[in-house]
Symmetry: C2
Subunit: 330 residues, 2 copies
């Protein structure tokens, strides 16, 4: 495997709310850059300008010139055609990113080989190489945040599919008669088990007159309730919050059973902010996998928490930039 291990790699993770940068020097370790706000509402050009400022800043901080870089790896939300380095379809938090030739833009500006990969796929790669999934052959990552993303490691390799779009596990229909999703599909896992779904379910119950400490937490501003607040209320034993999370956990469990029956993975790694809820959210999924999935597959799987937190994306982006094999280049 050619690793270009004599040069540093610069990695970026463009999320709906934050832009993270990091430098991965030859050998081990990560040098973190500052975190910037994405401010996606300002539009694609503004975000790319901010991205360039973030790149400049991390180069400056570690006294690096671009010729010292083996490559730039960018993890980005949305449908990414990694072969061409284009963000083809937008994500809910980067709404106007349609056919943005991100690799080309950055490559031309910095004169450094640049590679782009979907953020959840990058996180799967990061956890596989440096986090919870080290040494595991078949692994599925679920990012449980505002939305739900997925990344797939199959036979030890990042699986991206024909155009880099694979792993949209949040957008598998698990309830045919369920609510329509912004993606155009119906009854998606994301509509039933994401942070957004949790917040929305809590709001609905409170508007119907449900009692909960959430009402005090948000001083009556019901619409402002977040999944984090529901999680905090649940930890305090609030029955309404516990019910909301039990419902999300049930649907997440259905999604996990599907993942187990489809992939027979050794490991499901749960990342994203919602994964911080731990067994309240993940426990029911473990039980449902044992009860409902094929035993040949349920016996083989461990369902665990991610280890790299919000640094999984930059870790994966760095590997993606450094290793041609990972990008399907022999």
């Amino acid at each position: 495997m050619v690793k270009n291990n004599d040069k540093s790699v610069l990695a970026v993770d463009i999320g709906g709310t934050k832009i993270m940068t990091a430098v991965f020097p030859p050998g081990d370790g990560m040098l973190a850059g500052e975190v910037y706000s994405t401010l996606a509402d300002e539009g694609v050009s503004a975000v790319i300008e901010r991205l360039c400022r973030a790149i400049d800043a991390v180069l400056d901080r570690y006294d690096l010139k671009t010729p010292q870089l083996a490559g730039i790896g960018i993890a980005c939300a949305g449908g990414v055609d990694s072969g061409r380095g284009v963000v083809v379809t937008p994500s809910p938090n980067l709404k106007d990113w349609v056919d943005v030739p991100l690799a080309e833009i950055i490559r031309e500006k910095y004169r450094v080989d640049t590679f782009v990969v979907n953020d959840a796929s990058a996180a799967a790669l990061g956890e596989h190489r440096f986090g919870a999934g080290r040494g595991v052959k078949d692994l599925v990552l679920l990012t449980l945040g505002t939305g739900i993303g997925g990344g797939i490691i199959a036979d030890g390799r990042l699986y991206l599919g024909a155009a880099g779009g694979a792993g949209e596990l949040g957008h598998m229909t698990i309830d045919a008669g369920g609510p329509p999703c912004g993606c155009g599909n119906t009854g998606c896992l994301e509509m039933l088990a994401s942070g957004r779904a949790v917040a929305s379910d809590a709001v609905t119950r409170l508007k119907k007159g449900g009692k909960s400490i959430l009402l005090e937490m948000v001083e009556g501003e019901i619409e402002s309730i977040t999944a984090e607040q529901v999680g905090a209320a649940a930890r305090d034993g609030d029955p309404l919050a516990l019910d909301v999370l039990a419902r999300a956990a049930y649907y997440l469990g259905i999604g996990m059973v599907n993942v187990v029956n489809i992939f027979n993975p050794e490991m499901i790694v749960c990342g994203g902010g919602m994964a911080g809820l731990g067994d309240i959210l993940i426990g029911p999924g473990r039980r449902m996998v044992n009860e409902r999935a094929f035993s040949i597959s349920s016996r083989a799987v461990r369902i665990v928490a991610a280890q790299l937190g919000n640094e999984a994306g930059v870790h994966g982006a760095a590997v993606f930039a450094r290793e041609p094999m990972v990008r399907g280049v022999a």
Copy 2:
């Protein structure tokens, strides 16, 4: 790739109703053996005895001795741990096949290297090498028969998962509130879109007083209705039969959208008896993929009919026996 191309491979496909054998000589081509009835109700030992008679017969027919074989490949329904060559969990049509060390039994009897793989995975491999999926990198096969099976080709390689259990696409939940399935899960694709589901839906509608030419076709014996008969009635324009198939096609479409969002495959290959219904069954799925799946992935996929019919399994079993790489042996 080591191919042992100087010797023949003997391939077997053990299905719920039939046992097929074939010899694949060095180079190209297939020499078919006779087809035997599985008679699964007689139990594991009886089926294995019949399997051995089938192997003896095809060796005899083509005047082969076992030392002339590079290996024996067996495609078998159920959960197959290919690494150990054991049928771990039964399929609905091979009910008592639990922890059957099939590779070992055949290897000891014939003194030939023997390999076992799940039948739908074998069919995917067969279609990928010799059928509809030649030259395709990422492919998902759906076997639409009495039940629904699946096989996965990822990055040009057969994907089996940690224990050979991957690809149970018929047992992904697509309707969380749907009917319980014999597999232990709920609202499985197979419960809603398989041949069994089609027959059962027709029976239910007729019992409720529905009018259909099916009543004449089965001379009032409603319970005996098969999916084939529903298909024939639909081709004749029978409204009830068309409704039954439209419902199955809708659920199959949901399953296809899931496959497209999860795998971003270049191709979905539809095999099995139900695939013979063509656009009545597959057409709605194509439309739903265009309407509901992520465009990065829906643009990339072709949904096509399998080409090898019921010979896909023996073709795949032969490749599985011949090529160590396919079995994950470097």
